[in-house]
Amino acid sequence: MKIRRMGTTAIALAAVGALALSGCSSEPQSTGDGSAIVTTNGSEPQNPLIPTNTTEAGGGKIVTSVFAGLVSYSATGEQELEVAESIESDDATTWTVTLNDGWTFTNDEPVTSESFIDAWNYGALYDNAQGSSYFFDNIVGYSDVQNTMDDPSGAVDEAGAPLQVGDPLTETMSGLTVVDDTTFTVELATAEADWPLRLGYTAYSPLPKVAFEDMDAFGENPIGNGPYELAAEGAWEHDVQIALVTNPDYAGVRVPKNGGLDIVFYGTQEGAYAAVQGGDLDVLDALPPSAFASYQSDFPDTFVNQPAAVFQAFNMPYYLEHWSGEEGELRRAAISMSINREEITDVIFQGTRTPATDFTSPVIDGYSDSLEGSEVLEYNPEEAVAKWAEADAISPYEDTFDIAYNSDGGHSAWVDAVVNSIKNTLDIEAAGKPYPTFAAALDDRSAATLTGATRAGWQADYPSMYNFLAPLYKTGAGSNYEGYSSEEFDGLLDEGASASSVEDATAKYVEAQEVLLKDLPTVPLWYANVTGVWADTVQNVEFGWDSVPLYSNITKE
């Protein structure tokens, strides 16, 4: 990640819902100057701007502005059709996508079924090593483009060249079929009722034909079909900023009310905050910890602070002594109940975090603050001490309880507070365990050599409960580093995924979370709010569910 992690929160903030535009609704609505350029903060993208290889926030907000996918998300996380006219299925397995006529890329190439299918096949193919390839893993044929050949036995590719060891079995996914220029079908390996929900994610963007000629060069000067386009060839000044202007041909739901965006890259949020204060920046979508206590007085009418799709927690590995079986269950509950989440979010974060009551986020459909068993997430010193004593009766605990974290992500303040809360409640030794870099911390996690708990966090890629649960807790899932495995949980997740309606799916996911509350593979702490401030030069600043401002709505005089 090309973001400087020092002194910044590692997880770029996500956002939500209808923004409390305090005061704005009573003011006369300003229409602004339609050609004014809005400046906002960002960070140097980690990779060339290729949608399927953009996995971090810095590149994400640019790709979302330059490309339009089948759907986009409203401020509240609901999907709105963009290029798609309809996305339909009878069985949640075979989906038929129909495109609107008349969409073009900014080089005048029409957006067709092939624009999507070629882009998705590119993203999934093993040889292209795209960071988002796993987003296509439920499409039939994904394993063939990801798995490589051990024994080609004289097979040849489409051009007739002999295949070699290490080549993918096929180049394209068989589940994607072009019907005509504006229709294609997608066959999923397993049924997924809320599959369309994920299609607003950047990885599902279409690509023009010119992209495939030289993808790296394309990534420097991407040509998209979104509300904005690059101001000129070379508009991306590395490490400095990227200049975007309104795309006049864009006809979707995000038509810009301003003339363009200058996304200025900041190494630290401290610098960006001072820039807004000093009038050098219009909109800032994240606050440095040093401004938590003062931002509301610095920007009395132009701030936002509300829950977002970011879940923060710490995980307890099952492979450690004392932390599995009945003893482990007691200890996990005791630890969770000994943390005063209200006080920590109030004092350390000054209310810019919201105490957790489930494993998703308040901005996600299906969020609940009253799951069965959620009292384990409430501060309850007596019960915590009792459960800890019960566990000690099984096997006495004499170690220091530590929480591993990467110290380049600004985590030490809350880790210290959590550790103090546990220490004061349970009267045990507890301490934070800083790792110098994210890589070093991840190393111990993936090698399963932790000595205690580890911080964990998750920002949703698309607004769905499934995205909060499956990658983290399903047996063998990609980000399930601490090795949690529960047949009951896996089963409920599968049932939810293949349910015939979104409502049925949500019910199953709620049940699945109740299993998690019992097992506590992770101790939920809080949801990171989206916090932002803006100068009084701009109006109508609203933040999306993903913590990024809805740039197209911003007006500037």
Partner: protein, 309 residues
């Protein structure tokens, strides 16, 4: 003198190889897999990681990686960052900015530091001397991030005299505030060094001789006292160039400057060998040249120092 200079420049060769290998070795020894960490908490297919590791030669043994790097270096290829940019391009944008910042800071700390130190040394034990001591103490004990924050807030946000953060082109006038912050700790060193040297030299024979010759006090002070006091100060400034360029991490962060310090720091955090090594290789050259320059300056400041051969 020419022979001496040539010899010193030749010594750059072993220093270059020594430093680049040492640093390559250290980056290689950084804990964790840098490629896996690029994706944060997200799942990513092992195939993707394996291919990217191979692309950056991270799957090869240390010596082979180093030789591949050095081989490329002499063909003008400094490798690429993990984001696919040529390191040479990153250097071309970072070094000029940092050079401006460091030179400005060097100018501030040298001029202000020597002046304050000189006066403090001449009036040892007086009020000015005591005030200089208090200011130096403050600059030593208050960390840079606090000084930077306060100056940014007062002059950038409240008074609006300077831009709060530096724009992409980083023109000299926007770098004044960051340069002051960057110079603060070194300023304390230079004040103390100059003061000590000046007060030592005040009693030296050559100063008494000069005074006895009837030279005016200002002339005695500037030509005889100051000139002879500058050897340690100049040495310090020569050594300080390095910390001003690579060590400006905090200052660059506060003022959003895309300089060498932040880039090297980020590259270290990411485990980007070629970036760290290439930057430091240039820094080594700068060190050696700066030190050589300082050594030559000795002879000018103190006529008794001569370089043999």
């Amino acid at each position: 003198m020419l022979w001496y200079t040539g010899k010193r420049l030749l010594q750059m060769i072993p220093v270059f190889f020594g430093a680049t290998f040492l640093i390559y070795f250290m980056v290689f020894s950084l804990p964790g897999d840098p490629i896996a960490a690029l994706y944060g908490d997200r799942p990513v297919s092992p195939g993707v990681i394996a291919q990217i590791r191979a692309e950056y030669n991270l799957d090869k043994p240390l010596i082979q990686q180093y030789l591949l790097y050095i081989g490329g270096f002499f063909q003008g290829d400094l490798g690429t960052t993990f984001s696919g940019r040529p390191v040479s391009e990153v250097m071309a944008s970072a070094f000029p900015i940092t050079a401006r910042l460091a030179m400005l800071a060097l100018f501030f700390e040298a001029s202000a530091g020597i002046l304050v130190g000189l006066v403090a040394g001449l009036r040892k034990g007086k009020l000015f001397d005591a005030s200089a001591l208090v200011v130096s103490l403050l600059l030593i004990s208050v960390p840079t991030f606090v000084i930077g924050f306060v100056l940014q807030f007062v002059f950038g946000v409240q008074l609006g005299i300077f831009r709060t953060t530096v724009s992409g082109a980083a023109p000299l006038d926007e770098l004044i505030l960051p340069a002051l912050v960057l110079a603060s700790v070194s300023f304390a060193y230079i004040v103390r060094l100059t003061r000590a040297s000046v007060s030592d030299n005040l009693g030296a024979d050559f100063v008494r001789t000069a005074t006895a010759k009837g030279l005016s006090r200002p002339r005695v002070v500037t030509v005889h006292v100051l000139r002879n006091s500058l050897v340690p100060v100049v040495t310090f400034l020569g050594v300080d160039i390095g910390s001003l360029m690579v060590g400006a991490i905090v200052t660059e962060g506060i003022f959003n400057i895309n300089g060498v310090g932040g880039t090297v720091y980020d590259a270290i955090q990411l485990g980007e060998g070629p970036t760290v090594v290439s930057f430091i290789a240039v820094m080594v050259v700068i060190f050696v040249v700066a030190n050589l320059f300082v050594d030559l300056l000795y002879a000018a400041l103190d006529p008794r120092i001569r370089y043999a051969k």
